[in-house]
Amino acid sequence: MPDLLPSDFADLERFADWALPTEGARYDKRLASTMDELEAFYDAAFPRLEAAMAYLEQFGMDNLPEDGKRLLWLFAALVTVSFPVEVWRQPRVPDSGASVFDAVVEPAI
């Protein structure tokens, strides 16, 4: 299988399935994951955040290569999983029950 992420981030390749292009897809994957899975991804990605941002800064937003886009999606997913890992201790937002908020307009990366 070809590498999905830039070679500098080969250590995150095993989490490349988190590189999802929409907020809705990232949130759905969070709800479908266990806390162990969320924490494993968070623990691997969080220390790499600064390096990833420094790497992506060379391209600007309009010229991201495909593997760079996937890297940014992956770190957008880190934002999504930060809530259960840092505060909720569960994948779902507490007291959110049946309520659903769907992203209907979202800038593409």
Partner: protein, 432 residues
């Protein structure tokens, strides 16, 4: 012991001449009252349906479902660049003119003319009927008599509004009042990076405005969103606004915003420390050319701790301007007395790089996490209000905007009833 100065009367509520008695929420649980609101409010006020950026070129259009006002409108930038609105109905036999696949869903796009799917009648973007299939088969027929039914449409600071009341001649700029006038010149047009969320909410439309028009709930309902030491402190202090404003049917609350950036990094979560962003937006505000010279409606107390102003433009449009140079809109579109569609839209200056994009992503996702809690709480409130087990509720001074909203909405209904001599349903009045 107040932390921020209150008016000389001792409370914001009394300062604005609003009563202080317990309130009834019969106006939020009665199907009959909602039917009156549809005509008295949603067919008689200026309704914000979008932004000019949604109509980026001539021929750009979008449709808006206005269930409460019993219609759908199509909003379009015509060939001369003018923004127009029409009832979304073909003049031939009443088919919905602009839609794709699902008649109840909103659509947008760009076109040179509108063509009805049913019999192929065509309309120019200024509403003129330009083509009728087998025109000679019609009787005494003049196409000039069958243009699209126009809806009054005006633009305020880039926000597009429609008004379904043909009798009302109030210009939009007058309707927006001093609060709206005092926002003139704020560079909304520079914030074109848009994230919009939509939710079906199981409550009356006014109850969600209530939830966003007071911050009294924030330290409690959202307690777990802050780190625990900070959370305990916030609950201990509670919430006080810097200022409240009431202007005709509209209102605003001005609030402090110590989290952008926080005084102490330990007050916020690790992801917020790393990305320098959170609920209050990215801490590194982009330059939007304002300097310290805020328009008069923003931070009216001119308080150094200012963080966010929330405007309620009657009936269903909220505008939140945040100190770090971004803004948020809320729209509440009723679909019945106890359901509505909520739209929350975040607007940022387009990010220059991946880091800024992630800063915005954190603000967006934080907004979503808070809103999920707010939305669910509303359904719980609606269900119990409908039990009518308790019918009078005390509101405190930090909830002054709620009293004003419900009083205003009831006023529109009673004015409408007087003009139309309809009977008053039992029990719809302020508790006395």
């Amino acid at each position: 012991m107040p932390h921020f100065t209150k008016p000389a009367e001792g409370s914001w509520t009394e300062h604005y001449g609003i009563d202080t008695q317990p309130v009834s929420y019969e106006d939020s649980i009665s199907p009959e009252h909602y039917e009156l609101e549809r005509d008295a409010i949603f067919r008689r006020t200026w309704l914000n349906v979008g932004r000019v950026e949604q109509l980026s070129r001539n021929g750009s259009y979008f449709t808006k479902e206005l269930d409460a006002a019993r219609t759908s409108v199509v909003v379009v930038r015509d060939t001369t660049g003018e923004v127009r609105a029409f009832h979304n109905i073909c003049r031939h036999r009443g088919n919905k003119l602009v839609w794709n696949d699902y008649p109840a869903e909103e659509v947008s796009g760009t076109c040179r003319q509108f063509t009805c799917k049913y019999h192929g009648w065509r309309y120019a973007l200024d509403g003129e009927l330009t083509f009728v299939q087998q025109e000679s088969e019609f009787f005494d027929f003049d196409k000039a008599d069958f243009g699209l039914a126009a809806v009054r449409c005006e633009v305020w600071e880039g926000f597009i509004f429609v008004n379904l009341d043909d009798q009302d001649t109030t210009p939009l700029s007058d309707y927006m009042g001093e609060l709206g006038g005092g926002l003139a010149g704020y560079p909304f047009h520079k914030m074109t990076q848009v994230h919009r969320y939509r939710a079906e909410i199981g409550s009356n439309w006014k109850l969600f405005i209530d939830a966003f028009a007071e911050f009294y709930h924030a330290p409690v309902l959202h307690a777990k969103q802050a780190v625990s030491d900070e959370s305990r402190k916030l609950q201990g202090v509670g919430f006080e606004a810097l200022a409240y404003g009431i202007d005709g049917p509209h209102s605003m609350v001005s609030s402090w915003g110590g989290m952008s950036p926080p005084k102490d990094l330990n007050m916020v979560k690790p992801i917020e420390q790393k990305l320098r962003s959170g609920l209050f937006g990215p801490w590194d505000a982009p330059d939007i050319g304002l300097g310290d010279d805020l328009p008069p409606s923003l931070n009216p107390a001119r308080h150094p701790a200012w963080g966010i102003d929330s405007f309620v433009f009657f009936p269903n449009f909220m505008l939140l301007v945040w100190k770090p140079n971004w803004y948020l809109t809320y729209h509440y579109w009723p679909t019945s007395h106890n359901t509505h569609i909520f739209e929350g839209t975040l607007y940022f200056v387009p990010p220059k790089n991946a880091f800024e994009r992630l800063q915005q992503e954190l603000a967006v996702v934080t907004f979503k996490e808070y809103s999920l809690q707010d939305g669910n709480t509303l359904e719980a409130t609606q269900r119990m209000l409908e039990s009518r087990a308790v019918t009078e509720f005390p509101l405190n001074d930090q909830e002054v905007l709620l009293r004003h909203l419900h009083t205003t909405a009831r006023g529109y209904v009673s004015d409408y009833q007087q003009q139309h001599q309809t009977s008053t349903p039992v029990g719809i009045s302020a508790a006395s």
